[in-house]
Subunit: 139 residues, 3 copies
């Protein structure tokens, strides 16, 4: 059994989807992983990991707008307001999406569908340094 | 360490929950898996994988209706409308639920609760061919 | 390869977040796990597992209130009402969050961010006995 770890750092600048599919695939290739699971976990509760469409960028804009309407940045709606109007909505968006994704690797290939990409979904307004832990277990 | 892969194909015909618990359990039995993780990932971003109640079918109807209200099929709400009024809501429902589930197998038994079933949640209106990757890692 | 299982029982008393980070970490320490995945799965579809902020308890109150507004306890909205006004909203909240989380362990340490805690999110009003399966695979 082989296990490897890698911390991917993503510098974000506002509420957007940041694709990191290539960084994950490059790490798999560089390490010659064959079969196994890549466990991704983001070490923050105000940003998410999601698998989404990588074709039309309008999908990303619609997602951002949708989640902003679903969890509005309106201090009157929340008790926890000390960290800014975007912080509580960010925790809610995190709860509505995912902190963690497990992906399968088969014959050295990351098993994603043709139109699937890996994204960090940033929910905070200001610049952030985000850590996405990559953990491979397999052979 | 033992690893096996299996692509389950599900032909869908509209916005419904399609149960596949038996297919997953049969695959585990056929391969004599003992202890390990079954990693399920759907290779599409307009359908989801969910674990839900398998007792009262009304729960499924309520879930479908609820998600349709939460992400309405109304082109005026979205920029990405070229693939039909159901496509952007499908991506949103995918983001709100799951693309991927990891289940544990212990002593050859899939560890689901008494009332839990595995479902493909189809968000598109028209017929689709969906692939759910099954990946076992264990012994 | 080492695999261990442990059923954590959590007695809940109403719609709240119940932290169990310490129980998971203690189980890892007691068993001297080194590197691997801890797969957590809740055996119920009316409560969730989430990773959330462990600093300001107001975040938890806001989350509970938010999800109650998003999936209201109003029998007129649902067909499945026989198990109480909180049951169908509980299934919806379960679908909107997670039944299952995979966490990484590296050098005997559970890889959670500084402000992250593990929570059972109870969606039912009455007291419940919840089982969270812990499954370690690694070395």
């Amino acid at each position: 059994m082989n296990q490897e770890f890698f911390n991917l750092e993503v510098k974000t600048g506002g509420q957007k989807l940041y694709e990191f599919t290539d960084q994950t695939i490059n790490w798999i290739k560089k390490n010659n992983f064959n079969n196994g699971i890549v466990n991704l976990s983001i070490q923050h509760t105000s940003a998410s990991l999601i698998v989404q469409e990588n074709a039309d960028p309008d999908v990303q804009t619609d997602l951002i707008n949708y989640f902003d309407k679903l969890a509005p940045m309106d201090n009157k709606l929340y008790i926890h307001t000390t960290e800014g109007k975007d912080d509580m909505p960010a925790h809610i968006k995190s709860a509505l999406t995912n902190n963690q994704i497990s992906l399968s690797v088969r014959n050295a290939e990351l098993l994603l569908g043709t139109w699937q990409g890996l994204y960090l979904f940033e929910h905070r307004i200001n610049a952030q340094n985000r850590i996405i832990i990559h953990h491979f277990i397999g052979d």
